[in-house]
Amino acid sequence: MAGTRAASVIAAYDDHQRDLFSFLLATTRNRQVAEDLVQETFLRLVRETRAGRAPDNNRTWLFQVAANLAASRGRRLTVAVRAMSRMRGPDDAASPESGYLKQEQNRELDVALGTLSLDARRAVLLAAQGFDGQEIAQMIGRTPPATRSLMWRARLQLRELLETTGGAR
C-alpha cells in the first residue's frame, strides 16, 4: 500500500477511533466485543483503501460498517480468545471532563440504553454521533419511515426511564 494511502487510514483512525469506539461500547455493551469490532471496522477500511475504494466520507462509512458489524455480531457471537493482555494507552487515562458526575450520568444513560433493543440503541447512538434520520436509515438499512418509528419509540422509552430515575439532569 502506498504510504499516502496508509497514512490516510491511520489519520482516519486517529480522527474517528474515539467516537467509533465509544459508539461500539454503548451499542454492544461489551468491551471485548467493542474492541474487536472497532479493529475489524478499520481493517475493512484498510482493505477498501487498498482496493482503491476509499470511501468519500470516512466518518459515515466507518459508522455504517461499525453499526452493521454490531448488529451482525448479535447473530454470531464470535469473540476471539484474548491471549494477550491489553495495552493501556494514555488515551484511556481519565480526562478532565470525565469526572464523577459524568461517570454517574453515563451509568444512568447506559442503564437506560440497555433497555432498548440493539437496533433501537444503535440508531439512537448514531443520532448522538450527529447523523440525521435519513442518514441513519441508510446506514442501518431500513426505510426512513421504519427508522423514524424505531427512533421515536426509543426516545420516548429513554425519556420515561431517565425522568423516573431522575437522571440525565
Binding site: 500500500m1 504510504g3 474492541e35 481493517l43 493501556r88 448522538a128 434520520g133 426512513p144 421515536w152 425519556r159
Partner: protein, 473 residues
C-alpha cells in the same frame, strides 16, 4: 386535535426527522395549549443532547498498532500472531529461555522453490551442442533427477553431496573439462563441490530458466508443539502472492542460502516487486483478514528471510514476511547480493547476534520510524515521532554467539538479568510515561557483513513503565 401520546411521538420523531407540514401544524396547535407536552418536548431534546455528550473513551492503543500494521503492511499483517510472537519472544528473553532466531522459530530452512512452474518446460530433450559456459557467480539449475557433487572435478573423486532436479545452485567456477566431462564448481547452501554439466546427450546443469510467470514457494513452519504447518504459495511476476491449493509439484528443500539465492534471483529478474502482497478472504473465514506479504530485509549484505504463519487462522493463513527494505535493496543489485559467495563452509562461521530493543515513549499515536515498512513510507507518512527512542541493544551488555546453522541461542541467567535491568532502568528513567511501543531486532554480524532482523513490532502488555516482565521492580 391530537392526544398527548401522539404529540410526544411527533416531538420525539422531530429530533431525527423533519416533520411533515401537516404534522408540524397539528403539533404546534397542541403545544400551544399543553404545558405538560412542552415540558416533555424539552426533556426529549435535552436527553438527545445528553446522549451526544456522553463521556467518550478511546480504543486501546494496541488496536491502533494493529490497524497501522495492516495499513502499512509492515511485515505480517496478522497482528494478533505478531503480538503473540513478540510476547513470547520477550518472555523467553526475560526468563533466560531460548531466543529463537529468524530461521529457527520461523523455520525458513524449509522454504523450497521451483522457479519454473507452472510451465513444465525446462529440460531440453534434444542433444545440445556444446552450450556456452554458464557465467561464474551466476546461477544454474539442475536438470536431472540426481547429480553427484564431488570434491574434485573427477569422476573418481569423493562424493560430497547430491543435487536434485530443480535445485538452484550458484556457479563458483567453470566450466572445466576433466575426465571427459565438463565440470562446474557449484554451491548449494553448505554444499560446495564439482558437478558435471552434461553427458553426451543431456544437459545436467543448465541456465536458470527465464523468469516465468510464477515462482512457487513451499513454506513450512514448525510450532513449538512440533506440529508442522506448511503451505504452498505462488509468487507471480506481477507481485501477487497466492496459494495454488493442493499441488503435486515436487518441492525442493533449500537451505538459507538457497532461500537467499531465490530472493536474489527473484529480485534480479524483476519478479519480486516492492511490497508484493496478496490479500484474500477465504471462504468460510468470514470477517477474517488474511494477508501475505513478501519483502526482503537486510541492512547490508546477506538477505535474511523469514516467514510467519498465522496461528489463529491455520486453515487458511500463512503470513510470509520476507522482511523489509526491498526497494532499497533493489537499487543495490547485484553486488550487494553476492556477499558470501566465497565463504568456506567447512569452517563453521561464528556470527555475533545482538538483541536490539528500542522502546518508544510518548502519547498515544506515537510510532517510531522503525515501525514502518521502508524509508519511502516514513517519508510520506506524517505522524508525530515519539518523544524519544532509546536503544538499549546498541551496545547491549551482552551478545549471543552461536554457530552458523544453529536454530536458537539461550540467554544465560546473567544475560537475562542484564536485559531485565536495562528495561527496568529505562522505565524508571522515563518516570510516569507509558511505553508506547517496543521494538526488538536481532542484529548479526560476521566478518563480511551485518544484517538486522526485526522480530516484532509492538508487544502487548506493556501497560506501564514498570518492569515489563512483572517483577517487583
Amino acid at each position: 386535535m391530537i392526544d398527548h401520546r401522539t404529540a410526544e411521538s411527533l416531538m420525539a420523531a422531530a429530533i431525527d426527522f423533519p416533520l411533515l407540514p401537516d404534522e408540524q401544524v397539528t403539533l404546534d396547535a397542541h403545544l400551544a395549549s399543553c404545558d405538560r407536552c412542552r415540558t416533555v418536548g424539552a426533556q426529549l431534546r435535552r436527553h438527545s443532547l445528553v446522549l451526544g455528550e456522553m463521556a467518550t473513551e478511546g480504543a486501546p492503543m494496541r488496536i491502533r498498532s494493529a490497524v497501522a500494521a495492516a495499513a502499512l503492511q509492515a511485515g505480517a499483517t496478522n497482528q494478533r500472531f505478531m503480538l503473540l510472537l513478540a510476547a513470547a519472544l520477550l518472555a523467553a528473553a526475560a526468563i533466560g529461555g531460548a531466543i529463537v532466531v529468524g530461521s529457527g522459530i520461523l523455520d525458513l530452512d524449509d522454504l523450497s522453490i521451483n522457479p519454473d512452474l507452472p510451465s513444465p518446460s525446462a529440460a531440453s530433450s534434444e542433444a545440445p551442442a556444446l552450450p556456452p559456459a554458464l557465467p561464474p557467480s551466476g546461477f544454474a539449475q539442475v536438470k536431472v533427477s540426481e547429480l553427484s557433487v564431488r570434491s574434485e572435478p573427477q569422476a573418481s573423486a569423493a562424493q560430497v553431496g547430491t543435487l536434485e532436479e530443480g535445485d538452484v545452485v550458484s556457479i563458483l567456477e567453470g566450466q572445466t573439462a576433466a575426465d571427459d566431462q565438463v565440470w562446474y564448481r557449484v554451491r548449494l547452501g553448505e554444499l560446495t563441490g564439482w558437478a558435471t554439466a552434461r553427458d553426451s546427450s543431456t544437459e545436467w546443469i543448465g541456465e536458470l530458466p527465464e523468469p516465468s510467470s510464477a515462482w512457487v514457494l513451499r513454506v513450512q513452519r514448525q510450532y513449538p508443539t512440533g506440529a508442522l504447518n506448511d503451505m504452498t504459495v505462488v509468487l507471480y511476476s506481477d507481485g501477487r502472492l497466492v496459494s495454488p491449493g493442493p499441488s503435486g509439484w515436487e518441492q525442493r528443500r533449500l537451505t538459507d542460502e538457497g532461500t537467499r539465492l531465490f530472493v536474489q534471483e527473484a529480485v534480479r529478474s524483476g519478479l519480486l516487486e516492492v511490497d508484493a502482497e496478496y490479500v484474500t478472504e477465504p471462504p468460510g473465514y468470514e470477517g477474517g483478514y488474511v494477508s501475505w506479504s513478501i519483502s526482503v530485509v537486510a541492512e547490508q549484505g546477506p538477505v535474511m528471510v523469514s516467514a510467519l504463519s498465522s496461528s489463529d487462522a491455520p486453515e487458511s493463513a500463512l503470513v510470509v514476511a520476507l522482511a523489509e527494505r526491498l526497494s532499497a535493496l533493489a537499487n543495490e543489485l547485484p553486488t550487494a547480493w553476492l556477499v558470501d559467495a566465497d565463504r568456506t563452509p567447512e569452517t563453521p562461521e561464528v556470527l555475533t547476534y545482538n538483541l536490539v530493543v528500542s522502546l518508544g515513549f510518548g502519547a498515544l499515536g506515537d510510532f517510531g520510524p522503525e515501525d514502518f515498512l521502508g524509508d519511502a513510507d516514513v517519508d510520506t507518512i506524517e505522524l508525530p515521532l515519539p518523544t524519544s527512542v532509546l536503544e538499549i541493544g546498541d551496545p547491549l551488555p551482552f551478545s549471543v554467539k552461536f554457530p552458523l546453522g544453529a536454530r536458537c541461542a539461550s540467554l544465560t541467567p546473567a544475560e537475562a538479568n542484564a536485559l531485565r535491568e536495562a528495561f527496568y532502568s529505562l522505565g524508571m528513567a522515563r518516570g510516569e510515561q507509558d511505553v508506547s511501543y517496543v521494538d526488538v531486532r536481532l542484529r548479526w554480524a560476521s566478518q563480511n557483513s551485518t544484517a538486522m532482523l526485526k522480530l516484532n513490532a509492538v508487544p502487548p502488555g506493556m501497560d506501564s513503565c514498570v518492569n515489563p516482565y512483572g517483577g517487583t521492580g
